[in-house]
């Protein structure tokens, strides 16, 4: 097969295309409204669950903070989560009331917070037979981030499930596990979980390789 810009690592395997930062203008490509640009008929955005879907309706919000403690105002984030029954729904379709995939971003507006409207995911099966505590996988892209940072968001009102989660338990330092736990708050009768992502330094968020 002719692969003009790919490189073999052995006779059997090609090298993965190298990653590059998403840069400062990622929003024009992947988050059109956040860039202040006209949108297309269908966009992949941050409403993952519509009101009619079953499950506990929640908002998930946070900021992204750099190693100097300053807000990152140009991050782009992708979320991947199970539905309220702990099942992933891979078929992305805006006509469905729930999608497992969503996108959000921080900008110079809205206090530079990202947000997702979703339902709380159910516990997800694990090959070990144990179940994983409810969680949302997040990938963070931005200017200055050369390859996306992969993390997970857990919920602080799931302490028992969190303590038993085989993935959370892989993090050697118990203090560092706390960086993945979103805090529940109630605002105007609505449930909201907050997780600030710290890219570097004190309270640095755990990032995964998988």
């Amino acid at each position: 097969m002719n692969q003009p810009n790919s490189r073999p690592t052995s006779e059997l395997m090609l090298r993965e295309t190298a990653s590059q930062t998403a840069g400062p203008y990622v929003h024009i490509g992947l988050a059109l409204a956040a860039a202040g640009n006209p949108t297309r008929d269908e966009e992949i955005w941050n409403e993952m669950a519509r009101p009619e879907v079953e499950g506990e309706h929640i908002e998930v919000v946070g900021t992204v903070i750099d190693g100097n403690g300053d807000l990152v105002r140009d991050a782009f984030i992708e979320a991947w989560q199970a539905d309220s029954n702990g099942e992933y729904q891979p078929e992305f379709d805006l006509e469905k009331p729930f999608n497992s995939f969503g996108r959000t971003a921080t900008t110079f507006d809205h206090g530079s917070e990202w947000s997702l409207t979703t339902v709380k995911p159910g516990p997800v099966a694990h090959a070990s037979g144990q179940s994983q505590a409810p969680h949302i996988n997040l990938a963070i892209f931005a200017r200055g981030i050369n390859i996306q940072l992969q993390t997970r968001l857990y919920f602080d009102d799931e302490a028992e499930a969190n303590a038993a989660c085989p993935v959370l338990s892989r993090i050697e330092s118990p203090a560092r596990r706390q960086t993945l736990i979103a805090k529940r708050e109630e605002v105007d009768g609505k449930v909201r979980y907050r997780l600030d992502i710290r890219l570097q330094g004190e309270g640095e968020t755990v990032f995964f390789d998988f």
Partner: protein, 242 residues
């Protein structure tokens, strides 16, 4: 789908750019200091991912020559008309069909249609700079666009990005998710760029260069650049838990 029997080839993080690459200044405060926590056994959460076949796209979503024009009477964008095309395969050379490929770019003068871009080169009223498409059954994708111009950025006192198109590909899972940049063959700014230099291996830089393809260009109309994307290879695990 049985995710527990699935596995992707490990990402070679010496091939990809490191998080901390001080020549690219913004990476200094945006790179973790702690080691990544490796999942020796990724779960369904990492091995699955979205399928976008039901995303309803517009007729010109992959045609940047037409997709920002408000009406038929408006002119075409200024600049070098090009086709950008290629194939998405995995590391075993297997085509990745029906996967979402997205791209965004500056206009011919190096100006982005983004409120934070204050470069003095003007916007093009007929050019938006965003495209998306799905690969076909054999993993092929194509866009029609304008070759973007280089632009200056505040890194070193006189840093210029080479002409580039940002490219985003999903692949079969969130494990294969990749964002990269396509550069243009022969551009003398490539070896000068601090973002390109985040890669240590010159062979890795080669994977990001789109090649002029005269055979696929359209006489008296537009040139063509080929850019193949390779995502992590998918393996089956046969003896898990034995």
């Amino acid at each position: 789908m049985q995710y527990d029997s699935k596995r992707f080839v490990e990402r070679d993080r010496n091939w990809h750019p490191p998080a901390y690459a001080p020549g690219y200044k913004t990476s200094v405060a945006r790179s973790p200091q702690q080691a990544l926590v490796s999942m020796q056994r990724p779960t369904v959460s990492e091995l699955s991912g979205p399928d976008f076949r039901q995303l309803r796209m517009g007729p010109h979503d992959n045609d940047l020559l037409l997709n920002f024009r408000q009406d038929q009477n408006q002119g075409l964008p200024q600049g070098e008309r090009i086709i950008m095309f290629g194939r998405v395969v995995d590391q075993f050379g297997k085509p990745v069909p029906h996967t979402l490929v997205e791209m965004w770019q500056a206009n011919a003068g190096g100006r982005y249609r983004h409120r934070n871009d204050s470069y003095l080169a003007p916007l093009d009223p007929s050019f938006g700079g965003v495209g998306r498409t799905l690969t076909d059954e054999q993993g092929w994708y194509r866009f029609r666009t304008i070759k973007p111009g280089p632009y200056p950025w505040p890194n070193d006192p006189n840093s210029w990005r080479p002409s580039h198109i940002h490219v985003s590909v999903m692949g079969p899972s969130i494990s294969t998710r990749l964002i990269t940049q396509m550069y243009f063959e022969g551009d003398p700014l490539i070896p000068l760029c601090p973002i390109v230099h985040t890669l240590k291996d010159p062979e890795a830089v080669e994977t990001m260069i789109g090649r002029l393809d005269m055979a696929r260009s359209k006489p008296m109309d537009c040139l063509a650049y080929r850019f193949d994307l390779v995502v992590r290879g998918e393996l089956q695990t046969y003896f898990e838990n034995q």
